[in-house]
């Protein structure tokens, strides 16, 4: 009897993070890195602190931001974990804890900060 792998849990987070990275990541680079600085299609205030602060003061955008950050982190953690394995560093509980643990901790911080944006 083979034991069932629990990898589907992290793999689905990795997959979701990958989709967000491919779709949202490129869009964010385009908007923040190119369009806004060049003044194309966005007003001069688009990236100002006040407008972003008021946007993420609402619960839904704040939660969305935290979720996207969290999925990015899990995506990166999963890649690093498997790349280390590919490089011949054997997979261990400690390495797993370091990779996914930091993604989980980062997600916690993101959620906490998103909560603070809404509350304060």
């Amino acid at each position: 009897m083979r034991t069932r792998s629990h990898e589907p849990i992290v793999w689905s987070l990795f997959g979701a993070g990958g989709v967000f990275a491919a779709l949202l990541g490129t869009m964010l680079v385009l908007i923040i890195g190119i369009l806004v600085p060049m003044g194309l299609g966005f007003g001069p205030d688009a990236m100002h602190y006040d407008s972003l602060r008021s946007l993420f003061g609402h619960p839904l955008p704040a939660l969305g931001l935290a979720v996207v950050i969290s999925l990015f982190l899990f995506h990166g953690a999963h890649r690093i974990y498997h790349t280390l394995h590919d490089l011949g560093i054997p997979a261990s509980k400690r390495m797993m804890l370091a990779c996914y643990g930091s993604a989980a901790a980062g997600s916690g911080v993101a959620l906490l900060l998103a909560g603070m944006l809404v509350v304060f």
Binding site: M1, R2, T3, R4, S5, H6, E7, P8, I9, W11, S12, H82, H85, D86, G88
Partner: protein, 250 residues
């Protein structure tokens, strides 16, 4: 008749009953444009050193017997031509990641066990007899598995797979592609029995999508695609079993 030239073929030699460790021997082989690496090896065996041992059969990339490493790349020696390597010398070694029986012959037992573990045959939903007539399929139904059915068990994908090299508990590309081949067949009802192999750590989850298996496959089977599509099935199975713990198998 094309012009004859001479190429140096460096072969790994190893006879476990006599040699302490594998070593290399170089042979000067005259060749013509139409000669494959396999024909180069056959020339060595027929004219230079009858003790050189290697597997071969069909000479036309169908039987999957003559796989070996040429200049560290897994290839079918019948499908690669000496003219493409000339004037450089070539180094011929047995397929990586497998124990050597003698010279270029590897021990395939590990793969054969894995092949058996994926139930690589049709499991009908009900027992059928010849009286039930032919089991018809539409062209579309054939298309679902035909690509995966091209596998000739040549093991180039196992020699290419770094995951199998790191940990040979991994079921590996060819066996998992054949698993997908039978699961995709409309005449088969054995998905449930194969799911245990899919779901295991050494099943599809042993793969990190390096993709070399698909690159080296001489029959364009694309095992990497087969394995990663089954990751989706395994993920569904992992979570959906909590929703429907009884009766759900695939």
């Amino acid at each position: 008749m094309s012009q004859t030239r001479t190429i140096m073929i460096e072969c790994l030699r190893y006879d476990p009953e006599q040699d302490q460790a594998p070593h290399y021997r170089t042979y000067e082989v005259p060749f013509t444009d139409e000669m494959s690496v396999l024909e180069g090896l056959q020339y060595i065996k027929d004219h230079l050193d009858g003790s050189l041992t290697f597997r071969w059969s069909c000479r036309m990339a169908i039987c999957g017997s003559c796989g070996c490493m040429v200049n560290h790349q897994p290839i079918l020696s019948c499908q690669s031509f000496l003219r493409d390597y000339y004037p450089a010398r070539i180094r011929v070694e047995p397929l990586e990641h497998f124990p050597i029986v003698k010279d270029l012959v590897i021990d395939q037992s590990d793969f054969l066990g894995k092949l058996e573990s994926v139930t690589p045959y049709l499991v009908p939903a009900q027992p059928l007899t010849p009286e039930d007539g032919p089991n018809l399929q539409t062209p579309r139904q054939i298309e679902d598995y035909l690509g995966y059915a091209q596998c000739i068990n040549c093991l180039l994908c196992y020699a290419a797979c770094p995951q199998y090299g790191l940990n040979n508990a991994f079921t590996g590309p060819a066996a998992l592609a054949l698993l997908a081949r039978y699961n995709a067949d409309s005449r088969d009802a054995g998905q449930k029995t194969r799911m245990e192999v899919v779901n295991a750590e050494e099943g599809v989850w042993g793969c990190t999508l390096v993709g070399l298996c698909s690159e080296v496959c001489p029959k364009h089977v694309d095992p990497a695609r087969a394995i990663n599509r089954n990751k989706i099935n395994s993920t569904q199975d992992y979570f959906l079993r909590f929703l429907a713990p009884f009766g759900r198998g695939s």
